[in-house]
């Protein structure tokens, strides 16, 4: 992973695509800021994101409350930052879960072919046969709402996509000469899969992971928006937008601020993900 990341950085810094260097600065800077604030939220003197102060409800942004207060008088800045933490935990962990399971399924399918492949593809087809939001809703509704369960449900949903990427790439690498060479000197299937094929899967999987983060952040937002994601009072961007909707006529910023933050984050992730994917897979850049 570190080798591919270094390669990505190298290509971005030099080479024919030099203009990316500063086109990347803005989205990358925003993402770093969001990650930094989400990690340090407890130590930068933010008020409690769940502390209600009804007298101070729906205060517009001011020096005291930089982003104003919401319907229950909670500090919006604090809630947006703690909401970033929620989004990032779900957005980063859920695809990792999906990639571990889906990656293993996809690699076995692409490497062993035959019956394993038929079974795996059938399994993927069936998971994909559900509209994903409906499946996520049903999972969280019956598992019970918590950060862990939302992550679990969205992780399960990312299994088929991860399995597809892993399978397609494994198919492409499994017939290469160096794999044949490894087999000839008597390497076991396990060794070939982990030492020969896996390192080659990491760059495309990494690019896909970046895109998956933004998809999962949106999905978590949608679940929380519907009241079936992260349970209140824990802050989540989707939940904040849903709360803000009630006061759209008198205090529109309570909905528009978390919406803008979410938009900027998803846009930045897509932007960075798109560039990384073009580097990893030049064929796609034509589209």
């Amino acid at each position: 992973m570190s080798a591919s990341a270094a390669k990505v950085a190298a290509i971005a810094a030099t080479g024919p695509r030099r203009r990316w260097r500063w086109a990347l600065a803005l989205p990358l800077g925003w993402l770093l800021l969001v990650v930094f604030l989400a990690i340090t939220a407890d130590w930068i003197g933010l008020p409690d994101p769940s502390a209600q102060e009804l007298i101070l409800r729906r205060k517009p942004p001011s020096a005291e409350f930089l982003l104003g207060t919401d319907n229950l008088g909670r500090d919006m800045l604090s809630r947006v930052i703690y909401g970033a933490r929620t989004s990032l935990i779900v957005g980063i962990c859920a695809p990792i879960l999906g990639f571990l399971v889906g990656g293993a399924i996809g690699m076995s399918a692409g490497y062993f072919r035959g019956k394993v492949d038929t079974l795996a593809v059938g399994f993927i087809d069936i998971l994909l046969a559900f509209p994903s939001l409906v499946l996520a809703l049903t999972f969280t509704a019956y598992l019970g709402q918590s950060l862990f369960n939302v992550t679990l449900a969205l992780g399960i949903l990312s299994i088929p996509a991860a399995a597809r990427v892993a399978r397609a790439n494994t198919l492409a690498w499994a017939n290469r000469d160096f794999v044949l060479a490894a087999r000839t000197i008597g390497a076991s299937d396990w060794r070939i899969l982990t030492r020969e094929i896996l390192p080659n899967l990491l760059p495309p999987m990494f690019a896909f992971w970046l895109v998956a983060i933004s998809v999962i952040i949106v999905a978590e937002g949608a679940l929380s928006f519907l009241g079936l994601g992260i349970p209140a009072p824990q802050p989540s961007w989707g939940g904040m937008i849903a709360d803000g909707r009630e006061a759209l006529d008198v205090a529109p910023y309570t909905a528009l601020i978390p919406a803008a933050v979410m938009f900027a984050t998803v846009l930045s992730l897509n932007f960075v993900g798109d560039i990384v994917r073009n580097m990893v897979d030049p064929r796609r850049s034509a589209l």
Binding site: I126, L133, V134, T138, S214, L226, G244, D249, M262
Partner: protein, 317 residues
């Protein structure tokens, strides 16, 4: 086995697995229906009695095949809450959801096709770059966010359109359309981006073909070459994507129906989930999943009918 027969067998297998999975998710996961219905104060005897009445004491697979049997004869059971037949509830709400999805697709295609044609006319040109950026921006908008922004712009700030609520066609076509414009825009404004990108890239491939060169050499004006020669052979991927996107559209419809308080199938499902109305949730999820699988199957068929090359490749394999 001929191609069509094999596809049909696959369809049946997928449908079976999908309904079984739906049944398992709803029935295996924690939360006892009997307790939900009777409340926390119920005695253990009451709960056992109700479980026997509902047939919940029998093995799950037996119950699944019972349920599947009645589902095949058009009976998805009755809601625990109000005793309304689930099929009736779905049929009542389906037209709203269908209208929403069709209007959203019309809006999406209405934007995507002209934009893709104009962008493909001069790839890399000003319009191409602006439309690509716009598509990139809209793609990053979650539908629940766009819905709120549209309500803020069109209902709160300018008071042009109703924010929520639904007017049936029976009370006037215009009122009905007015209540559906914002919901369908919310879905369509995000959907067009994918369609535009696919169509543009296919158009670019088609425009390199010899028959386009011939058409140009004949001296046809550029717009005629685009519309009459390039568009049709470039629209196959578009049709596939239309089918594949229906899953996203269904998910989007659930959210949009909730934002705009439209009485559709998505809102029925959410209501069922909040009320812990197991039978209703089970029936609705199964209905949505089966609908989705069947639509994708039909799109696959349509694709083969439109493009003989696909049919022949698949026949041989």
């Amino acid at each position: 086995m001929p191609w069509l027969a094999r596809q049909l067998v696959r369809l049946v297998v997928v449908l079976f697995c999908v309904t079984l999975l739906t049944y398992m998710i709803v029935n295996i996961l924690p939360g006892d229906v009997a307790i939900v219905i009777l409340g926390n104060l119920a005695t253990p005897e009451d709960i056992a009695g109700l479980r026997a009445d509902l047939g919940l004491d029998r093995p799950m697979l037996v119950r699944y095949f019972d349920w599947l049997g009645s589902a095949l004869s058009g009976d998805l059971g009755r809601s625990y809450r109000n005793g309304e037949p689930v099929v009736q509830a779905i049929v009542d709400r389906l037209p709203v959801s269908l209208q929403l999805m069709v209007m959203a697709q019309v809006i999406a295609l209405g934007i995507a096709i002209p934009v893709a044609l104009l962008a493909a006319r001069r790839p890399g040109g000003l319009f191409d770059r602006i439309s690509a950026s716009a598509a990139f921006g809209f793609l990053a908008m979650p539908n629940f966010m766009l819905g709120i922004v549209l309500i803020y712009l069109f209902s709160v700030s300018f008071d042009l359109l109703p924010a929520t609520g639904f007017t049936p066609v029976s009370e006037g076509l215009w009122d009905n359309l007015e209540s559906m414009i914002l919901p369908s825009l919310t879905l369509g404004l995000i959907e067009w981006t994918v369609l535009m990108r696919v169509l543009r890239s296919d158009l670019l491939t088609t425009l390199k073909e010899d028959f386009i060169l011939l058409a140009r050499a004949k001296g046809l004006p550029p717009w005629r070459v685009l519309l009459q020669h390039a568009l049709r052979p470039s629209s196959f991927t578009l049709i596939t994507i239309l089918g594949l996107n229906i899953g996203g559209l269904i998910g989007g419809a659930v959210i949009v129906e909730q934002i705009f308080a439209l009485p559709g199938v998505g809102r029925l499902l959410l209501g069922g989930i909040f009320n812990r109305d197991l039978i209703l949730v089970q029936g609705t999820v199964a209905f949505i999943a089966v609908g989705f699988v069947v639509i994708n199957f039909l799109v696959d068929m349509l694709y083969a009918v439109l493009d003989p090359r696909v049919r022949h490749v698949r026949f041989r394999s």
